[in-house]
Assembly symmetry: C2
Homo-oligomer: 331 residues x 2
């Protein structure tokens, strides 16, 4: 098979960025054999250091950066603009107010003629139209499957697998932390505060989990779906949001007795409705998935209802979505 070299940079070397580097290392041979693509990681940037090597980074250099050793005398901007490469992977933390620093990274990379693949929700939710226009102008791709639903395919599923379908609505559980909390509360008849603390102790919820439990994270993902799939021009302020903080074990028990379960559901439809709220879901509904799973039911005009379920979180899961996006550019 003829091999095409694809040079990659990773900006943001936290859990997801490290997952991407690990997946590239582990899967390099597989991808060469199956897709004719020779993946070469040529640069990594994080706050404490930037490394670059146009011949491909050594394991040693990556190991040192992982260990927190300060390295390199170039900036992340230098890496994006000066080091010749094909795809910039943006995995810095999400900021839903400003989109930064991801927004600047993405604009800089597109301006420099790089394809962009990101897990960063902020820039996509805030500036979808502007960024897509820039990508189109530059003839480059901007892909963001990892920003919604982690490893669960939804953007590519709607755009490719369901191509030609009119999309009527998308409804689902897009936050694994909330799903875990509600599932445990229902199963064990425990109060919200207790389960939240437990989730924080085992690393399923962050120390500051307000963005999850207040529904903000779900709302931002809905905005991404609204703009990228429904062609809206929505922002976070267009979403009616209610979190899970006031759900009681009593409410869950009452729902259970009536054959329902309570889930934090995000709901977007072609009429412009954008809503995040706890909802009663019939137990036999495909949306009733437990633990940290994510799920989405896509209502279409031809295929009927299509439901997809997958792991919404985890570094390798997000890296998986990024990885499929990268390969998708060259398929």
């Amino acid at each position: 098979m003829k091999q095409e070299t694809v040079r990659i940079s990773i900006i943001g070397f936290g859990y997801v960025g490290r997952g991407v580097a690990e997946v590239i290392r582990r899967k390099r041979e597989y991808v060469a054999r199956n897709y004719g693509i020779d993946l070469k990681l040529v640069g990594i940037a994080d706050l404490w250091g930037v490394i670059a090597d146009e011949d491909g980074l050594t394991e040693e250099a990556i190991g040192k950066l992982k260990a927190g050793e300060k390295q390199g005398d170039i900036t992340s901007r230098d890496l994006i603009t000066e080091i010749e490469h094909d795809v910039m992977v943006e995995t810095t933390p999400t900021n839903v107010e400003t989109g930064e620093p991801g927004l600047t990274h993405i604009i800089t990379a597109l301006e420099s003629g790089r394809h962009v693949v990101t897990s960063n929700k902020g820039p996509i939710a805030l500036e979808y139209g502007t960024l897509m226009d820039l990508a189109a102008k530059k003839g480059k791709e901007l892909k963001f499957e990892a920003s919604v639903g982690g490893a669960m395919p939804i953007i590519s599923l709607v755009r490719q697998d369901l191509a030609g379908n009119g999309i009527i609505s998308i409804k689902g559980i897009l936050n694994g932390t909330c799903n875990y909390i509600l599932t445990r509360m229902a199963e064990e008849n425990l109060p919200y505060e207790h389960v939240l603390k437990e989730a924080q102790q085992i690393g399923i919820a962050e120390a500051d989990s307000s963005k999850d439990v207040e529904g903000v994270d779900t709302a931002v993902k809905l905005v991404i779906l609204a703009n990228s799939i429904f062609g809206m021009n929505a922002t976070y302020n267009d979403v009616k949001v209610k979190g899970i903080m006031e759900i009681t074990p009593d409410a869950l028990r009452l729902a259970n007795d009536a054959g329902y379960i309570i889930k934090l559901i995000g709901d977007v439809d072609s009429g412009g409705r954008l809503e995040v709220a706890p909802r009663l879901v019939p137990k036999e509904d495909p949306l009733n998935v437990g633990g940290t799973l994510n799920v989405a039911t896509i209502k279409t005009d031809l295929a009927g209802d299509i439901t997809v379920i997958g792991k919404g979180a985890g570094p390798i899961e997000a890296a998986s979505a990024i990885f499929s996006d990268i390969i998708g550019i060259y398929m």
Copy 2:
């Protein structure tokens, strides 16, 4: 948007072929606007007549063919070879022993330089390797999403959305008739023969439903997944098959009491295991879907388990998968 004309023929004008014609009619403007493709149906062939018009068939001509009026003095072979077009849609009935007449249609179309999109399981299960080699040699695409799971995306989901993932196994309910029968038996505590008759009366089961209830249909779909996704060279004889005819209401009740439900599960894995059999599925498992729904859980090395649920049958649903395949050729 620049428009590319895509000329289409449909060979086999039963429920699915008519569904495709209907979807093309209904969606022509939508597809032109969203994908820059001008779909033009230039020929339809069935046993009782063949119509063709390089400028696009009129509604009147299609209506007459639908009404069973014998028309045209060309053969389906003439249509495939002589009438200039881009995509041949093959929707004749499945024959799992010979693959005919679909096999000949597909070979003729590829030889004539047409892309092929089909819902016909026979040719794909019997001659996958030969057909893909021929398509590659001719530089044409051969797509068959509709052959497994109807409107439920699985082939494109694995190949595109999960690109780069190693696929460990696929396990699922691939026959809506069996799922309907088992669901009704469990819900109503009714014997197999009773529910089968009911399913035949309301058109969910065919008069001769042996291929469904004996597991043959599921096995053929497994062979398609084995060859197209796992790169095997399998045939129907490699599949260990057991149907649902011996499931009793008692067995379903016992399973229910233990928190399980019985489903006809098709199972293929990268180790070469190919099996169709009734299995206990935990009630909370994503594979527990009711009615005529299809479902598949794809176990991957990066994305973890991904489950997809959708309508496995119905002319518009199969047509939907064919339609997405057609558009996918030009995306």
